[in-house]
């Protein structure tokens, strides 16, 4: 058995993923792999135009309609909205609709193919209203499509007095930056199975990130008491934010069909439906106006940041919040004003996607920093170095940074590993005579971990740990494993805290009837916030065992611990311990003025991209990528590196390949054949390095990591393209057609 010493034995080690074996053998069960006897297949009939009123539903001929279960808004037993923040999105259209993919009708039948045929046969008679498709039209109120002014939410961050800087500034630089939508494109489509009836209530199984979001929504939809609704997460084939809130919709639909038919109902989206109807990353528009001194110091920043939220509020307020707070980046500036807003358009609601607004605002900022440097005649790196935030200085929200932050050091490391300085020189020389243009560029940025401001305090997350009859410790949390390694990390944290073998830790499947609400699996919070609760819940178990005399305080083996668990259970019955989130001392947030400690901790990073641009076919390719970051202590190097690599790859896609083509508010290229994500042939070597600086309030010193890598690729790549071609580009995605446009205008 393992040694009784308490030195770190599992944290910092790349123990293999807990559910790895099931995944490589095909034994892992995703929702579509599950089937119940007598199960029906459900389908969703959706609107086909962006805004209007349904006058009549026309059922097609040659369909045996009497064999179908058909659900409309009239069948809803409780509230007809998806409970989230503003509760403005209906489960089923009653009369008026606001985007092209709104669910109107639900169908179920035991023959999958017949359901599909029936779905296609349904037509609507519609009165069309004039829609709004762009941020500009929405802001200018071309039509009022939501509330009084089309604005879901707005924020104002104000530090110092930016109005006073313009007159005395040596240089003022303005810029405008645009980012497009992006599809999460998890390889497992969304899906749910429901069993719902009056006696037992509602149970759903499915692919999701946040079981308690679904739980809350179903309670309202069916008007049932909490204990009559049960939500179980099945193995989930990727989320990236895309399974944060839409699963509540699908779960509700499957449950309504089951409620009416009295049979289990499965709804699995196909790829086209998943891409067209579910959420994507918010498109954004950022304007910067910046005052700088001749010696390259930031004096004042005025930032205007707008995101397109689509037709309903959903999570836009929160996405906007994160985008707003990250908009001024890791730089010190005495005067900052950030105005931001999320506005409505007649597109399916945009939602969470890794980074949650930050990749958008950081893209604008980092491109703008390059522009200022150029205007001043400084190198982009020198300009950054003169403004990097230091320990003891304040961010745009006036948060004093209490951690040791060394962005200059991270930059040195990233430049050394990528050969940045030599390559800058070498490429400049080569490009003179070569048809292919090479360039290298970088971005420096930070990403806050956990919910914004007071969010974690209101969440009051809880984690449990229980001893099992086999003498193992089982972690009880609603935090989901979606590929990022939750199970494994929790196992490592608990085994480290208890000083027992990693294999003695089990992690319960998230099931609301069995695990407490540890909050949603979002916002890079699972490791840092929930992990800390895992640590204290596990220690609570130990305390009870020691206090009741079953275990020595120290110097025990894993076997001793197991024996103590068994003995305790035999004598007293169950042994459980729960731990609830307590905000660390000294975190203050003023929600009204958007001021104060926005996040408990930040991850800091410098990413370098090297590109080749082929000016004849207008193609840019990333040849090498170096990602250097400080994320506190790394719990599992292989998993952490995998998170960074995956995020960078998504970032490369966001920058160069992934173009959502909109036609009348609908995604026109909703297929994998024409919405292109990077393949193994497109991705460069991604070289990942961690600088470690343990965070006092994280489990074993860890901070958050999941979203950070999404922030840096786009600005780094565009900076490299500028280095290669001399052309500064301010929008993504930069697919060949738009690169052509940019390069052509420049040479005219």
């Amino acid at each position: 058995m393992s040694s009784p010493k308490t030195e770190r034995r599992f944290v910092g080690k790349s123990v293999p993923r807990k559910e790895g074996r099931d995944k490589v053998t095909g034994a892992a069960r995703y929702v579509d792999d599950i089937r119940f006897p007598e199960m029906l297949y459900g389908a969703t009939v959706r609107t086909t135009s962006p805004r209007g009123r349904i006058k009549e539903i026309i059922f097609g001929e040659n369909v045996p309609w009497d064999e179908f279960t058909i659900v409309t808004a009239k069948d809803i037993p409780g509230e007809n909205y998806v409970a989230l923040i503003l509760n403005d999105q209906p489960y089923l259209v009653e009369e008026f609709f606001n985007h092209t993919e709104e669910p109107v009708l639900l169908l179920a039948h035991e023959d999958k193919f017949l359901v599909e045929k029936a779905r296609r046969s349904i037509r609507f008679e519609i009165e069309e209203f004039s829609p709004v498709f762009t941020i500009e039209d929405s802001v200018n109120k071309r039509e009022i499509i939501w509330g009084e002014d089309n604005v879901f939410k707005s924020f104002l961050v104000d530090k110092g007095n930016v109005d006073e800087v313009w007159e005395s500034a040596d240089v003022i630089v303005e810029g405008e930056y645009l980012t497009g939508a992006q599809e999460q494109l998890y390889i497992e489509n969304n899906g749910m199975i429901a069993i719902a009836n009056h006696e037992d209530g509602v149970t759903v199984w499915g692919s999701m990130q946040c079981p308690y979001y679904v739980h809350k929504a179903l309670i309202k939809l069916f008007n049932l008491p909490e204990e009559k609704v049960r939500v179980v997460q099945t193995e989930t084939g990727g989320g990236f934010g895309g399974k944060e809130e839409y699963p509540s919709m699908i779960a509700g639909h499957a449950a309504l069909l089951s409620w009416k038919s009295g049979r289990p109902v499965k709804i699995i989206y196909d790829r086209a439906e998943d891409m067209a109807a579910t959420t994507k990353r918010h498109p954004s528009h950022t304007r910067h106006r910046t005052a700088v001194s001749r010696d390259g110091k930031l004096l004042g920043m005025e930032i205007d940041f707008t995101v397109d939220g689509g037709a309903y509020a959903t999570l836009s307020a929160v996405v906007l919040s994160r985008g707003t707070i990250h908009a001024a980046g890791p730089y010190l500036c005495p005067n900052v004003r950030i105005r931001s807003r999320a506005v409505a358009t007649n597109a399916p609601p945009h939602g969470a996607f890794r980074g949650f607004g930050a990749p958008q605002s950081i893209f604008g900022l980092e491109r703008h920093m390059d522009k200022i440097a150029k205007t001043l005649g400084l190198s982009p790196e020198e300009f950054r170095r003169r403004n990097f935030i230091q320990e003891g200085q304040t961010t745009a929200t006036q948060q004093v940074i209490h951690e040791k932050v060394d962005l200059s050091g991270l930059m040195d490391r990233a430049f050394e590993l990528s050969g940045y300085n030599e390559k800058r020189e070498k490429f400049a020389e080569q490009n003179k005579s070569s048809r292919l243009k090479k360039g290298i560029g970088f971005a420096s940025f930070m990403h806050g971990a956990g919910f914004t401001g007071s969010g974690e305090k209101y969440l009051e997350s809880v984690v449990g740990a229980e001893a099992t009859e086999q003498g193992n410790v089982r972690i009880l949390a609603a935090s989901t494993e979606i590929g990022q390694g939750t199970n494994t990390i929790f196992g490592q944290i608990a085994s480290e805290a208890l000083g027992i073998d990693y294999n003695l830790i089990e992690v319960a499947k998230p099931d609301t009837s069995n695990v407490p609400n540890s909050g949603p699996t979002v916002a890079s919070r699972t490791c840092m916030i929930v992990g800390k609760l895992v640590e204290s819940a596990a220690l609570g178990l130990k305390q009870t065992l020691v206090g009741s005399g079953f275990l020595k305080d120290s110097g025990y083996t894993s076997e001793d611990f197991s024996n103590a668990c068994r003995a305790y259970i035999e004598k007293h019955g169950a042994l459980k311990s729960f731990s609830k989130y307590q905000q660390p001392e000294g975190i203050n947030w003023d929600d009204e003025h958007y001021r104060g400690d926005a996040y408990g901790a930040y991850a800091w990073a410098v990413y370098v991209a090297e590109v080749t641009v082929d000016p004849t076919v207008y193609e840019a390719h990333v040849d090498d990528f170096v990602a250097v970051q400080e994320v506190g202590r790394v719990i599992n190097p292989v998993l952490a590196t995998g998170q960074i690599e995956g995020g960078v790859a998504q970032g490369i896609g966001y920058t160069l390949y992934e173009n959502v083509v909109w036609r009348d508010g609908r995604m026109a290229n909703n297929q994998m054949t024409n919405y292109i994500i990077p393949t193994s042939a497109d991705i460069p070597p991604i070289r990942v390095f961690f600088a470690e600086n343990p965070y006092a309030y994280g489990p074993a010193g860890a901070k958050g990591i999941g979203e950070l890598p999404m922030d840096g690729a786009a600005p780094a790549i565009l900076s490299a393209i500028e280095n290669a071609t001399g052309v500064s580009i301010n929008h993504i995605p930069l697919v060949p057609e738009s690169l052509m446009e940019e390069l052509e205008t420049e040479t005219i």
Binding site: V24, Q184, I187, G238, D270, G483, Q671, M672, S680, P685
Partner: protein, 162 residues
């Protein structure tokens, strides 16, 4: 469609003779998943783009979402369920676990099949050959780096034969 249009198709799946009852144009993917309950083979796109549905037919890799069952009469099919030998994992599977080749795992069965197929054809593939050999299989989680590493490590083990 009615039951009478269904045909009987005999083939070998993971070394066992099986009789499928399906419409001739039904997808092999559905026959495997629904009729034989071999759910390790996944559907990611249904249009031949993602490779999540990869299986081996007579030793050749195919996207089972594009193969009508009628085409597999008499063929030998291997799915992810037939890769491990009892409790002993294939070297590629072992390497995926050890080196972080699987995250969410939904692409993994197809990826493992593709990697094995690659190693069958090229004993010690170069990095370019690995990239090329796996380019038909999309992964959204890993950025592919750990998958490449797993393949490289797997060839360092003996016993890469299917």
């Amino acid at each position: 469609m009615s039951e009478v249009n269904k045909v009987e198709i005999t083939c070998a799946v993971n070394g066992e003779e099986r009789v499928l009852h399906a419409y001739p144009m039904a997808r092999l993917l559905d026959a495997l998943r629904e009729e034989l309950r071999l759910t390790g083979t996944k559907e990611g796109c249904g249009e031949g783009e993602c490779g999540a549905c990869s299986v081996l037919i007579n030793g050749e890799i195919v996207n089972s979402c594009l193969v009508p069952v009628a085409q597999v009469a008499g063929a030998e099919i291997k799915t992810i369920e037939g890769i491990a030998n009892d409790q002993k994992l294939h070297a590629v599977q072992e390497a995926f676990i050890q080196h972080g080749g699987a995250q969410c795992g939904i692409c993994t069965p197809g990826m493992v099949i593709a990697a094995i197929n690659l190693l069958e054809k090229t004993e010690k593939p170069t990095e370019a050959e690995i990239r090329d050999g796996l380019a038909g299989n999309l992964c959204r989680c890993t950025g592919y780096m750990k998958i490449f590493e797993a393949v490289v490590r797997a060839c360092q083990e003996e016993d890469v034969k299917v």
